[in-house]
């Protein structure tokens, strides 16, 4: 049997409306933004989609601004611009963006692409979880905004419908102290062994967390969040009690469901998450005590 010649359509819309129309017409087309994940998969012949839907020319997709009182980050904003332009508005996301890949990858890779890949190791996802971000999904049928927490449904699976595209992420406008930390075998260009993001929101006295590379999807540590909400000395900004830090680390570790793989053991990941969580809350709380109320 001779396999059919496998040619690939390359669809390159110039406007968002056109992109949504193409997406609806070719639901089997694989959307590609920076290509830092997709091209690797194509080069290794891990997937062979019948068509690529390149979003690189869509006007406005790489813009950011405020909308409905939220920080709206277009799906096509590359990590480099998040680092240079958004370190103040989205500090946790900017910290994560700084750790991603190499300079070349940060020039190309986007948060929209990270969400589209829906990898449990996507470095941008834990800070989005911690910040309580929304994902804006669009199709010719309309627009919906879903919490990032429910967006990933499994390893490399998401609730993105076949005719939908990721338009943007929306973050609270005034971030409080945020932290992101990851463990990697080397200092750069490495897939995280595990990662952890924390967001404190002193005005609302709420807390967000995000765990990466330690479960089938990026996950929150809900019990750990509740612990901090209840027990952080919000009122007087007193020093952080060590037992609280320890307990927080334990609850974060308990929220993960890691596996053994070539990058690390499940036991190490759990242990490291506890350590990262403790450090994150110490640093974030110290910033809160130094800097006063920001969010």
């Amino acid at each position: 049997m001779v396999l059919p010649r496998s040619e690939m359509e390359f669809l390159q819309p110039e406007s968002w409306a056109e992109a949504l129309a193409v997406r609806a017409a070719y639901p089997e087309a694989l959307p590609v933004a920076g290509g830092t994940d997709v091209m690797v998969e194509l080069n290794f012949a891990r997937r062979r989609p019948p068509a690529l839907l390149d979003l690189g020319r869509v006007a406005g997709l790489a813009d950011w601004g405020t909308e409905d009182g939220l920080l709206r980050l277009g799906a096509g904003v590359p990590y480099r611009r998040i680092v240079t332009e958004l370190a103040g508005r989205a500090p946790g996301l900017a910290m994560a963006a700084r750790t991603i890949g190499s300079a070349q990858i940060r020039n190309r890779g986007t948060v929209g692409g990270n969400l589209g890949s829906a990898s449990p190791a996507g470095d941008a996802l834990p800070p989005l979880l911690a910040a309580g971000a929304l994902v804006e999904l669009a199709s010719v049928r309309g627009v919906r905004r879903v919490p990032v927490a429910g967006f990933c449904t499994g390893p490399k699976r998401s609730m993105l419908a076949p005719d939908e595209l990721i338009a943007a992420v929306l973050l609270p406008p005034d971030a409080g102290p945020e932290q992101f930390a990851k463990v990697g075998t080397r200092n750069a260009m490495v897939i995280a062994v595990c990662s952890f993001a924390l967001a404190l929101r002193p005005v609302s006295r709420t807390v967000g967390t995000g765990i990466g590379s330690a479960a089938p999807t990026p996950v929150r540590a809900a019990a750990a969040e509740e612990l901090l909400v209840a027990e952080l000395p919000w009122a007087d900004r007193a020093a952080l009690p060590e037992p609280l830090v320890r307990r927080f680390g334990e609850l974060v570790a308990a929220a993960a469901s890691p596996i053994d793989d070539v990058r690390g053991t499940a036991a190490y990941r759990r242990h490291a998450l506890g350590v990262l969580a403790g450090r994150a809350v110490r640093r974030a709380w110290a910033e809160h005590r130094r800097g006063g109320v920001r969010g």
């Binding site: 049997m1 001779v2 396999l3 010649r5 012949a45 190499s102 463990v183 075998t185 080397r186 200092n187 750069a188 260009m189 490495v190 897939i191 062994v193 070539v262 690390g264 053991t265 190490y268 242990h271 490291a272 350590v275 990262l276 450090r279």
Partner: protein
């Protein structure tokens, strides 16, 4: 010597490489070029019971599919032999696709040739191979109960057991302090950025040209000619630029011959590029191994006995072990010594040279043990080395050709700030980090080819010169350094000399391996250049029209292309004046260097150095970050300070990788490497590179070769991993006796 020798000049090929103008073997666009892709065995052991190429054969663009059923038989069984010796230099005593037996996973079982590389890759996935798999041995532990002591290793050149000195068992028994420790090493792969590549072109007269990425063009020529049953006159190898090698291209593996056979079959030029994954099972690797060290010392730390035994995994058909015992055997003045190799046979390609072959592992074991001994007896680790320093080669009692190690220790300790080190482990904290320092000695043998090494120098009537030798440039800076040697020898400005290498049409030089390339090539280039200079000086003094007529040649010097009397520089003439007056378009000389014999004519020949490291270990996460490295080496004469330092720095970073990152992990269930990619086999990246200080101590050496060049290709890695591991111990109190060190070791 003129100031050009040793100067930190820019690389002559730097612009070409940076701009992409330099063409590598896989970048040649030849008319009608076809592409070969290999299909590797999916099982590590067994037989091929069926191979179905029907789908692949009819896929678009496919020109042929070859298997063991139809690939021509090679004319000779290859025999493993190191390429340094200038003869055939097969990487292993096995050639694939000659029968149905599978010795290791990844062994080529089919080859697809198509009109584009994409079509060849696609068709390669359509080849259906059925195997009768048999139990395999892919880990040292699986072969441990079947080990044997080989009669010879290293292509039959070295005994399986080193010569014993005195009675080491008695030495150990009688020692006041004894240490018996075992160190384990993960397999390592060389991982040059350019994968191995050959483009094969047969001409109308059945002559073969191979554009091959190789450390030794002549080695490729002779080895492929032997397998094809051709005289070497019918095989020409071109290899100008090579994108790194690190041992992967030191010996000749199957792919150049397979490319030649494919090209002959399809009647078109054929390019064969190994994929990154194929690089993990096509050109050997540093074998998984363990080394046991026994040290016996008196209370002051003076060694009375050293026992060093290595056990490692080799292939079914070659007794290969990297020569880990050689440098440690002569490092210190141990009164008694014994050391030997044991091998286990497994389902693996024959292991081979990998960055700092032998010494990188052997010196890790010895220098880790020495650090343990220093702590055992409470002596500063550097002081312990000095107490055991030897001014003669302890294996023979012969003097060293040169040493310089005491100076390396002293300079390194100064640069690093070693003195006053608090020896207590686990006593320094910097935030989340535990900080420690460690050091190690380095030694690497100075090897030389056995056969004469040649270069040719030709000067034109305009006073420019070209100097040629058949070397490839694989990133070391050889083209630049050899231009400097030639300019120095000829008495010409650097920019009037061009050095050309890269083909077997040029005077023969052995493969540049084992840190021997700069010594061998510089010797031939020096002799060719000074020979041509002497020839021209001789002509001038014999020329009645020359101002130098009847002068004593010994009193004549040449500077900037002008010959003149040393004592009366105004008396003289330029090369150009001499050549033009005599209507000579050019003049030429061959330089032939007969290398120093392996025993150095009664000298021990090693390169020495000293390594220092500062590390920080995250106390809660186990992460190790190297903060500083200082390496001081005594490599004889340095030909170009910049490229030499770059090579030494690269070597130290190999050592950082060996210490903390590099491991090829075998999955014993599949018998295949589990991390055969650069995303999973981690090497250091820029963000891992610490503050590195390098210095060289230039000790004159009149034994090793005419310019006293001992080479810088390997010594940089030697001892780095031990210095780092010793610093990890100093930081944490934990003694890690295996490489690489992982986070889990330090929790």
């Amino acid at each position: 010597m003129s100031p050009v020798l040793g100067a930190a000049l820019d690389r002559v090929d730097g612009r070409a490489k940076v701009t992409g103008a330099a063409r590598y073997s896989g970048e040649l666009n030849l008319p009608n070029l076809a592409h070969a892709v290999l299909v590797g065995a999916r099982v590590p052991s067994g037989r091929i019971i069926g191979i179905d190429c029907r789908q692949a054969s009819v896929a678009d663009g496919v020109l042929t599919v070859l298997t063991h059923l139809d690939l021509p038989r090679v004319a000779a069984r290859p025999k493993l032999f190191p390429s340094l010796f200038g003869l055939t230099a097969h990487g292993q005593s096995f050639f694939p696709m000659q029968d149905d037996v599978v010795h290791y996973a990844g062994q080529p079982v089919a080859m697809v040739v198509a009109d584009t590389v994409e079509r060849a890759e696609h068709a390669a996935t359509l080849v259906q191979v059925n195997y009768a798999e048999t139990p395999s041995v892919t880990l040292l532990d699986q072969g441990r109960d079947q080990t044997y002591e080989p009669a010879k290793i290293f292509g039959g050149l070295l005994p399986g057991r080193n010569p014993t000195r005195g009675d080491p068992e008695a030495g150990l028994r009688d020692a006041a302090v004894r240490l018996d420790v075992t160190y384990r090493f993960a397999a390592n792969h060389q991982n040059p950025i350019e994968p191995s590549t050959t483009t094969a072109v047969w001409d109308d007269l059945d002559r073969l040209t191979l554009h091959d990425a190789t450390q030794g063009p002549t080695a490729t020529q002779l080895s492929v000619a032997e397998l094809l049953g051709l005289p070497p006159t019918m095989v020409r190898v071109v290899s100008h630029y090579v994108g790194g090698s690190f041992g992967a291209k030191a010996l000749i593996w199957a792919h150049p011959t397979l490319a030649a056979l494919a090209a002959r079959r399809v009647g078109r030029p054929v390019r064969l590029v190994l994929s990154r994954e194929q690089m993990f099972h096509s050109c050997g690797h540093r074998e998984e191994q363990e080394q046991r060290i026994g040290l016996g010392a008196d209370r002051d730390g003076r060694l009375g006995a050293l026992r060093h035994d290595k056990t490692s995994l080799t292939s079914h058909y070659d007794d290969w072990a990297e020569t880990s015992l050689e440098a440690p055997a002569v490092m210190y003045a141990a009164a008694t010594y014994a050391g030997g190799y044991r091998l286990a046979r497994g389902n693996t390609i024959t292991p081979t040279f990998t960055r700092g072959p032998g010494a990188a592992t052997g010196m890790f074991a010895l220098e880790s043990a020495m650090d343990e001994l220093a702590y055992e007896i409470g002596v500063d680790p550097l002081e312990l080395r000095l107490r055991n320093h030897t001014d003669v080669d302890p294996s023979t009692g012969n003097p060293w050709s040169s040493k310089g190690l005491r100076e390396c220790y002293q300079r390194g300790a100064e640069l690093f700030g070693w003195s006053g080190r608090d020896p207590r482990p686990g006593a320094r904290r910097d935030g989340d980090w535990l900080v420690g320092t460690g050091m190690a000695s380095a030694a690497y043998p100075v090897a030389a080819p056995m056969n004469p090494q040649r270069a040719r120098a030709r000067m034109y009537a305009d006073g420019s010169a070209v100097v040629e030798a058949g070397i490839s440039e694989f990133g070391t800076g050889a083209l630049t350094a050899m231009t400097q040697v030639a300019a120095d020898g000829l008495g010409l400005p650097f920019d009037r000399v061009r050095f050309v290498g890269g083909t077997t049409d040029l005077p023969n030089i052995a493969a540049a391996v084992g840190s021997a390339g700069s010594g061998a090539t510089s010797s031939a280039v020096h002799l060719a250049s000074t020979g041509l200079r002497d020839q021209l000086v001789g002509q001038a003094v014999a020329d009645a029209r020359s101002p130098l007529h009847n002068a004593d040649p010994a009193g004549i010097v040449v500077r900037d292309g002008r010959m003149c009397l040393r004592d009366s520089p105004q008396t003289g003439e330029t090369y150009v004046e001499l050549l033009r007056r005599n209507h000579m378009p050019d003049v030429e000389a061959l330089g032939v260097w007969q290398p120093t014999p392996p025993d150095g004519g009664g000298h021990g020949m090693f390169t020495f150095g000293a390594q220092f490291a500062e590390v920080a270990v995250d106390a809660d996460l186990g992460l190790v970050r190297v903060r500083r490295l200082v390496g001081v080496f005594a490599p004889g004469r340095v030909l170009n300070r910049r490229t030499a330092h770059s090579q030494l720095m690269g070597g130290m970073l190999w050592g950082l990788g060996q210490a903390l990152l590099e491991a090829t992990r075998m999955d014993p269930h599949t018998g295949r490497w589990a991390n055969a990619s650069l995303a999973d086999y981690l090497v250091p990246v820029n963000a891992d590179v610490p503050d590195i200080t390098i210095d060289t101590i230039e000790v004159p050496d009149s034994v090793v070769n005419p310019l006293g060049v001992k080479g810088v290709g390997e010594i940089g890695i030697v001892g780095t991993s031990a210095a780092i591991a010793n610093a990890v111990h100093h930081a944490t109190g934990r003694r890690i006796r295996h490489l690489p060190i992982t986070v889990e070791d330090l929790l």
